[in-house]
Symmetry: none
Subunit: 204 residues, 4 copies
Amino acid sequence: MSPRPDVTEARKNQILEAAVTVFARLGFQQTRMDDIAKQAGLSKGALYLYYKSKDTIIAALLKYFFMQEFKRLQAFVEADREASVHDQLMDLTRQLAAVMHWMARLMPIAFEFYAIAGRDQEVRQFLQEYYHDYRRELARLIQRGIERDEFRTIDAEATATTLAALYEGLALLYFVDPEAHQWTEQVETSVRLLLEGIAQHAST
Amino acid sequence: MSPRPDVTEARKNQILEAAVTVFARLGFQQTRMDDIAKQAGLSKGALYLYYKSKDTIIAALLKYFFMQEFKRLQAFVEADREASVHDQLMDLTRQLAAVMHWMARLMPIAFEFYAIAGRDQEVRQFLQEYYHDYRRELARLIQRGIERDEFRTIDAEATATTLAALYEGLALLYFVDPEAHQWTEQVETSVRLLLEGIAQHAST
Amino acid sequence: MSPRPDVTEARKNQILEAAVTVFARLGFQQTRMDDIAKQAGLSKGALYLYYKSKDTIIAALLKYFFMQEFKRLQAFVEADREASVHDQLMDLTRQLAAVMHWMARLMPIAFEFYAIAGRDQEVRQFLQEYYHDYRRELARLIQRGIERDEFRTIDAEATATTLAALYEGLALLYFVDPEAHQWTEQVETSVRLLLEGIAQHAST
Amino acid sequence: MSPRPDVTEARKNQILEAAVTVFARLGFQQTRMDDIAKQAGLSKGALYLYYKSKDTIIAALLKYFFMQEFKRLQAFVEADREASVHDQLMDLTRQLAAVMHWMARLMPIAFEFYAIAGRDQEVRQFLQEYYHDYRRELARLIQRGIERDEFRTIDAEATATTLAALYEGLALLYFVDPEAHQWTEQVETSVRLLLEGIAQHAST
DNA sequence: AATGAATGAGTTTTCATTCAT
DNA sequence: CATGAATGAAAACTCATTCAT
């Protein structure tokens, strides 16, 4: 309605993206409002027009950050693919391996959020929901595999949790030491071991 | 005989233990030197008699913290047990599940260290060595399983990495949402799935 | 035309002048940043916008302080006066006597700089240059007196040094005990004694 | 009387001498009680058995420091010499030049005392007495010169002040830049100029 | 008398936040 | 809307002084 289109949303994202970049490099604490402002190409004052405080930026980032991650998974699962679930999961895995290097740059942010979750109820709750949804999507996929007789009659939920844990753990290990292994292969091998544990003997 | 025995070692540990407690609750940044001092039952000045700075305490904590963790694993692996490797790993897993609640309290510290590793070469290197050693111990155990024909001829290294990742991931998920599952069972189920993936068919 | 003119230079001087006042009263060490801020009519934080640290203020003050002093002398010497050099030096002396009371207030600052010169190469070097220039100006004047046959053929440099030493010493004695003498007369008498020592007999 | 001789005086001097050394190098403020203790070969606690506080040490030093200086002059003047006063003063001057290098090391302490005098009545008063006595001794000598007809009928007091100022000023200039001149000659030249100003024509 | 571990008040410096322009 | 100069609360760290041994 207003003659000028609402620039607010754009600015808020501009700030969040700047924040991601700087936070990833310096951490929440070491990052100055000036750093974010400079990275966003705005003045320090402008930040406060869009976010009430540094903490508000961090809180908004929490959602922005994990939302993006979740959408990737969801998009994958919702694509009603014709391939076997086994192949779909290997696809998902390969995709993960492919973006690992890029993700590692952002992982310090995730770790800081995990650390904060230990003392902040709201952050913890958000992460709980995130992981709940994340596992639900995986479980849905695995359930499909059971129904198609690709997998044994296992607990889809528990298996999804296992897979999610494996992904998280591999990402952590990769982050700590990207040179330690041929991670692309390692990730595939890890998931293949798991899939063999849940496969019908026929598939072995 | 000497009038005053050297209390330096004792004090340093006293401070580190206090630091663990407070850091876990408040995080590195939110924790004031006064908080550590109070928790240790010392004055702020006394802290500086034993550690040059807050950062020095954190650096000392890094070693103290992961060393303890590693010793637990090492003690387990070195015990030359007669049980099957499968049973040993399930034992290790159950032990992990048993201390998970206790560990979760300390995980924020670990997460902060991971976050710092992203920007501090020394911390990163320390963690690399830690995980390297950690995986090596697990690989040793798994290799034993292969030699005893319990497991298929798999890559012991890659499998150890998988197991380590699984442990880390499960600990993370537990930390975020301790109520989400019957974690004791979940952890066992997860590892059992993996073990089935690597077992000789005879064991299925 | 620009909305806000650059106040940096003004602020820096404002701070230096405040610093002179407070340092003279309390000394470098006893002076709190808050004292300078209050004296300057600024906040403590503002000080740090213009000077990196307390030491930076002190360093800037060193130059500001002695520069002013030197300019006074230089202005005097450069004025190509027609009076005899003897009369010019007596003029300079009377001028010194006149501002002595005002200078005494600032002398604690000078003394602190001298003390620091004992352990700081940069400060020492600055003072060396200051006194070098100071003596050179006096020597120039005295040389003029020799050329005009007012003075005997003496070493102008050595005499300038003598005069400078006399000035410094008298200022010191005045500072320590302003009531001890009729200083205005004392200073004139002292310099007159010296001038008689260097005068051609004709002037006796 | 007591079986053990009183060690208190010895200890107090031991501490003062240590203090002189360290203060000269580091300044009053930068010097830690630990530095003095170490230099004196005592423990920090021991210092407090003999001096109530750091300030008490500094206060005691003030007396110790200038007293030594004064004794040197007094010893010189009291020696009822047969030489002409002119020669005696030149002797005194040469003696000054000879110890200048050694004195320079201690001058930072003197400067700190001068600076403190600006804000501490007690210190100022002590210095006033010191310089009063100092000038009186010189005046006594000069008066002798007048009585012996070596000097013109000048104001002995004012001349003593002039000479004292000259000494102080030369010491200051030497301290700031020991390489600037052949100071030994400079000092003699300076005083000779003055003496020529006060001499009877006969002696010129 | 002597020690040196412990104390805690005091100071510099930083930086999120505000607000006059 | 946007700016960036100014604010001042907060915290790491120091070191003179104390006191149990």
